[in-house]
């Protein structure tokens, strides 16, 4: 967009950075100087200080006096905070004195051209040699002091820059020093401005209070002290609104308020306090929105308001790009929307206020021209700059000024501005999930394009947006959009669109009144009769004229104007319903089919043809109604013509035709007991019952896996008619055309089919019966080929589940098995079938892949009887096997148990030779009956301390069941015990558990 008077000046919008000027660098002819300059300017990373560098030669001009519109620019770009003089001079320079003097001269020239400003001056000596550490080079320090003296510089203002490898490092250090100097400069400037305050009084110097506050804030920004900057801008803002306001200075006040508001909002966003920014903006709008100023220039106010919203929207959007999160109800979209709204207002006001007759001439001399080409002060009128009085000294001049502004406003492309703003808003609302807001704005955009006479774009937008409103059923809104769309299509003479929109506007969803619908219907008929329609109301006169020409061109192309319009996506003015009289018909009874039509338009309408399209195209010819009539009869109500639809009345059209013979069927029944088990010869019984009245001849049956399913299923499915033999993979998945023979009327036939499914899952099976039948239809005898099919889904499951587990001889779970050591393999078979299964045989097969098994170092076997008896000797022999090829030293010990006495070695150390075994014999004497803990055998392999008793426990039983005495003896004994607790018998326990 070309810059307009309303755009915020660029010096306001940029981020103020300290301004430092570097002189004495000859970048054209001196490579070293070039390198230094580049190191300052090129590739500045974000962690470097915010300085803006300018390079100048000695002579530059600083404008005298204070030009307000140039003030910001001055301090950003013209008056530096610091001037740095670069001079090549090494400490060991032979011609030191001359060089020093030359350098001093250069510094003096700079000082003079600064003309009393407080800009700081510094000197950088470009040197070839690396400086020595401080304190070491006596000559350097002497000469440095002398140079400072000669140039009247403080020691802090003299630097050296050795042109060596670490150039960038030195540069960065220099920069930081420059930055400090710059900050000091701005700080001083702030104090200087503040000191002016003493000389001001509130009544006469109101403007200056604002000016000074603004300057302080701006300098704070340059100093990068954003907190203070914000504080001062806020003060400045409040002061602006305290100014005495009048129509004549309203624009200046608003302009300054706008600038300061912009700064405040931006700083708030920068400080990550977006709510403050929003609050400030709201306050700004509240205070300014009624300050319209001169009524004849009300459009200016609208333009200014629009700009405020747009600028804030931009700031908000920028903050979001830098990480702020916006939400559905607070996002930049609203601000762009309001900006667009005000731009629309601007357009309307402009059309009212700037509507001068073409005879009115632009004033000469141009009141908007100034001597310098720019304004002296922001927001003032060019023809009365610098006037503080509210009264107009020259009303005539004022009139001319206003006229010139109004005439200039006429050339503004308002629609373009509005559309851009709306489009920004649309993008935002799309992002923040406000689809309806987006649609609403798109409608506004479409309407704006319409006003801008870009009918094609308008139509594109409106067409897109129509679907949304249609699908949500907001007919009022849809009607309004359609009306505009109709206008567009009229003005472009786009016949098909014109007709389509008319169809919908005449329908029952349209909320137009009858008189409008009537007008549209008449126009529609005109178009269909190859005449130009009447213009749509409220269209631009020139556009109407142009379109009338287009229409007459179009209609003269009569003959090629046939349009096919799909109406299923909207509600046209004719309702149509179709139905068959019954869901099915016998082959010798004609099919009856009704169509109902009803018109919702205001006037009767006549159609020339009705036809129906079936999925079997052959039937189409039976369902056509056609009639020809005179052009003049179109809107006349006709008594005879069946194709004339009277609004509100439903008309029925009946069609009868005979169905083709292929489309007839009859009854098949399928019986089976799902689910099927894998590899079962599953029986599917097909029962065919004839409902025909004559013989069904040549009945053929096709049965099997429905084609079109997964290839794996096809491979693993076999079908046969014989259930006695198991089929292998060579059998097909589908048996075709099995001859059945003839079927008498009413006869039932059963045919079993056997299916074998090799894998689990669902399979679709198809049973298809075809036959021939003689029948009479409308006097003719024909041979009908009929068929009927049924599908059934059969689920196949595994018949049973086998689970296998490894256990030790003690029936304990095993993780590992070892060589030569017996273990048990237990299988669990779980039936998954709904019916009982008889397992005939089973087999355990070794798998093809085998892994080796570890050897245990030792193994203990024992032959323990299954039970013992109280007071009966129980001999147990333990066989200790050495499974290694080394001699084993074994420590064997037996731990006693309360339930037993035993004889045998309580503790012994053995030596067992490789691959041999040793026997240890014990004699246990059970003392108590019941499930008793045996004395436990402990083995310690001295060479293999890892061989623990845990492992041993697997092989050696820990308990044994001990039976009591003979029953009779026990009870006698118990009886005795109960009567008198006499001395207890030596070996029996009184509370013995009898035999289980």
């Amino acid at each position: 967009m070309t810059p307009s008077q309303w755009d915020l000046p660029v010096e306001l919008c940029c981020r103020p950075m300290a301004f430092v000027t570097l002189t004495g660098l000859d970048v054209v002819y001196n490579a070293v100087h070039r390198a230094v300059w580049d190191a300052f300017c090129a590739n500045r990373r974000a962690d470097r200080v915010p300085i803006s560098f300018k390079r100048t030669s000695y002579e530059w001009y600083i404008p005298k006096g204070i030009l307000k519109t140039g003030w910001m620019n001055k301090h950003l770009n013209l008056v530096p905070a610091l001037v740095v003089v670069f001079y090549e001079l090494d400490w060991d320079e032979p011609q030191w004195k001359e060089k020093q003097s030359e350098c001093a001269t250069r510094v003096e020239i700079v000082r003079q051209s600064l003309q009393g400003r407080n800009t700081k001056v510094a000197v950088v000596l470009i040197q070839k040699k690396t400086p020595l550490p401080p304190g070491e080079d006596v000559i350097a320090s002497e000469r440095a002091a002398a140079l400072c003296n000669a140039c009247d510089l403080s020691g802090k203002s003299l630097f050296v820059l050795p042109h060596t490898d670490h150039l960038v490092g030195y540069i960065i250090r220099l920069e930081n020093a420059f930055y400090e100097h710059a900050q000091t400069y701005y700080y001083t400037e702030i104090r200087r401005v503040k000191s002016h305050k003493e000389f001001l009084n509130k009544t006469t110097h109101q403007l200056l209070f604002v000016r000074h506050q603004f300057k302080i804030a701006f300098f704070s920004e340059l100093k990068q002290d954003t907190q203070n900057a914000l504080k001062n801008y806020r003060t400045a803002y409040n002061l602006v609104h305290e100014l005495r306001a009048h129509e004549t200075n309203m624009l200046e006040i608003k302009t300054m308020a706008g600038f300061i508001n912009y700064k405040i909002c931006r700083l708030c966003f920068q400080h990550n306090t977006p709510l403050d920014a929003i609050a400030q903006f709201r306050k700004h709008i509240d205070l300014c929105k009624k300050k319209i100023g001169s009524a004849e220039l009300a459009f200016e106010h609208a333009a200014w308001m629009s700009k405020q919203f747009q600028a804030f929207g931009d700031l908000f959007d920028e903050a979001i790009k830098l990480g702020l999160t916006a939400i559905q109800t607070q996002n930049p979209g609203f601000y762009y929307q309001q900006a667009a709204y005000y731009a629309q207002e601007r357009k309307q006001l402009a059309s009212m206020l700037c509507n001068h007759d073409s005879s009115v001439v632009y004033p000469n001399p141009d009141p908007l021209e100034t001597q310098t080409g720019v304004l002296d002060f922001y927001g003032q009128r060019p023809w009365r700059q610098g006037t503080l009085s509210f009264d107009l000294s020259d009303p005539e001049k004022e009139k001319m000024g206003i006229l010139s502004l109004q005439l200039k406003e006429r050339n503004v492309l308002h629609s373009e501005l509005i559309i851009t703003l709306l489009s920004n808003a649309v993008a935002q609302f799309k992002k923040y999930k406000c689809p309806r807001m987006k649609s609403h704005l798109m409608v506004q955009m479409g309407e704006e394009y319409y006003f801008a006479k870009d009918y094609a774009k308008a139509l594109k937008l409106l067409d897109y947006v129509m679907c949304e409103y249609r699908s949500e059923g907001w007919w009022t809104l849809l009607t309004s959009i359609l009306t505009t769309a109709l206008k567009c299509s009229y003005l472009m003479a786009q016949i098909k669109d014109y007709i389509t929109y008319s169809l919908e506007l005449l329908g029952r969803a349209s909320t137009l009144k009858d008189d409008q619908k009537s007008r549209i219907e008449k126009n529609l008929i005109k178009v269909l009769m190859n005449e130009s329609p009447d213009p749509e109301p409220d269209c631009d006169a020139a556009a109407v004229k142009a379109s009338q020409k287009l229409w007459s061109d179009r209609v003269s192309l009569a003959g090629s104007n046939v349009f096919t319009i799909e109406v299923q996506d909207f509600i046209p003015f004719v309702q149509c319903k179709a139905k068959f009289l019954a869901p099915s018909f016998h082959v010798d009874v004609p099919v009856q089919f009704d169509i109902y039509l009803r018109a919702d338009c205001p006037h009767p309408i006549r159609f020339s043809k009705l036809c129906v399209s079936f999925n079997n195209q052959d039937y189409n010819q039976h369902c056509v109604v056609e009639e020809a009539y005179q052009k003049s009869d179109v809107l006349e109500q006709s008594a005879q013509g069946t194709m004339c639809l009277v609004p509100g009345k439903t008309r029925k059209f009946t069609f009868k035709f005979v169905a083709k013979t292929e489309d007839v069927g009859k009854k098949i029944e399928l019986r089976h007991e799902p689910p099927a088990l894998t590899n079962e010869m599953y029986c599917l019984i097909v029962t065919i019952e004839s409902h025909e009245e004559t013989v069904a001849k040549d009945v053929k049956l096709t049965a099997g896996l429905k084609p079109g399913q997964d290839a794996n299923l096809t491979q693993k499915t076999q079908v046969t008619l014989r259930g006695t033999d198991t089929c292998d993979d060579s059998f097909p998945a589908l048996l075709t055309d099995i001859p059945i023979g003839d079927l008498q009327p009413g006869e039932k036939l059963e045919k079993p089919i056997y299916i074998r499914c090799g894998t689990v899952g669902a399979r679709m099976f198809l049973v298809y019966v075809s036959y021939l039948i003689n029948t009479t239809v409308e006097g003719k005898e024909i041979l009908c080929k009929c068929h009927r099919d049924e599908t059934v889904t059969i689920e196949t499951v595994f018949p049973f589940d086998v689970a296998v587990k490894f256990v030790s001889t003690k029936l304990e779970h095993l993780d590992r098995v070892f060589a030569d050591i017996p273990f048990l393999l237990m299988t669990d078979i779980l039936s998954a079938s709904p019916w009982p299964l008889t397992i005939v045989t089973s087999q355990l097969q070794l798998s093809a892949s085998m892994t080796s098994v570890d050897q245990l170092e030792s193994y203990v076997e024992n032959d323990l009887p299954s039970f013992g008896r109280v007071r009966e000797s129980l001999p147990v022999r333990y066989h200790l096997q050495n499974k290694t090829n080394l001699v084993q030293d074994v420590e064997v010990s037996m731990e006693p148990s309360d339930a037993f006495m035993f004889s045998g070695l309580k503790q012994i150390r053995l030596r067992i030779l490789p691959d041999t075994q040793q026997e240890v014999l014990y004699n246990f004497y059970p003392l108590m009956a019941g499930y008793q803990q045996l004395p436990s055998l402990h083995i310690n392999l001295l060479r293999f301390p890892n061989f623990t008793n845990q492992l041993l426990r697997r092989f050696i039983p820990t308990h044994i069941f001990v039976k009591g005495y003979m029953l009779g003896y026990t009870s006698m004994h118990l009886q005795k015990a109960q009567r008198s607790p006499g001395p207890s018998l030596p070996y029996a326990s009184p509370a013995a558990e009898p035999e289980a």
Partner: protein, 156 residues
């Protein structure tokens, strides 16, 4: 006082919209329609939060709205400034009520808005009990009209 009252079906089409006669009716339709964005968002947020879903008073739909929806009657003398607030309310059958209120003259408190919605809800329930009313149809009821009239702004 309300300047526009609307009853919206579960599928988001209007069952009833009534607005103050002097203002541009179309603008109000758009106002109500666009506020459904926020209503939908709030409903789905409530759904996720598993909040007890009895009557949901949604409150002010666009919290910082006072100058956002700005109506200006250009034909008349310089702009009549209006502050429009939109309030929403959802029943647990997902029927929505939207009310647009002009708060430039009187600041309506939250209680007052809530009680207006309750009244609306009760009247709506009465309509549902009318055997001649088919749920999903547009609402044509004198009783409902009267109730809405009582809540609308008096415009002379």
């Amino acid at each position: 006082m309300a300047v526009c009252i609307a009853v919206i079906a579960k599928e988001n089409y209007p069952l009833y919209i009534r607005s103050v006669p002097t203002e541009n009716e179309l603008k109000f339709h758009y106002t109500v329609h666009t506020s459904l964005d926020v209503v939908d968002e709030k409903i789905s947020a409530m759904g996720k939060a598993m909040v007890d879903q009895r009557e949901l008073y949604l409150g002010l739909l666009y919290p910082t709205e006072d100058y956002k929806v700005y109506l200006c009657n250009i034909a008349a003398s310089p702009c009549s400034h209006t502050f429009l607030h939109r309030y929403g309310y959802v029943t647990n059958s997902k029927v929505k009520f939207v009310m647009v209120v002009d708060s430039s003259n009187t600041a309506l408190r939250d209680n007052e808005i809530r009680s207006m919605f309750r009244k609306l809800h009760n009247s709506y329930t009465d309509i549902m009990c009318n055997p001649f009313y088919n749920p999903g149809d547009r609402i044509h009821s004198r009783a409902f009209d009267n109730m809405v009239n009582s809540m609308m702004m008096q415009v002379c």
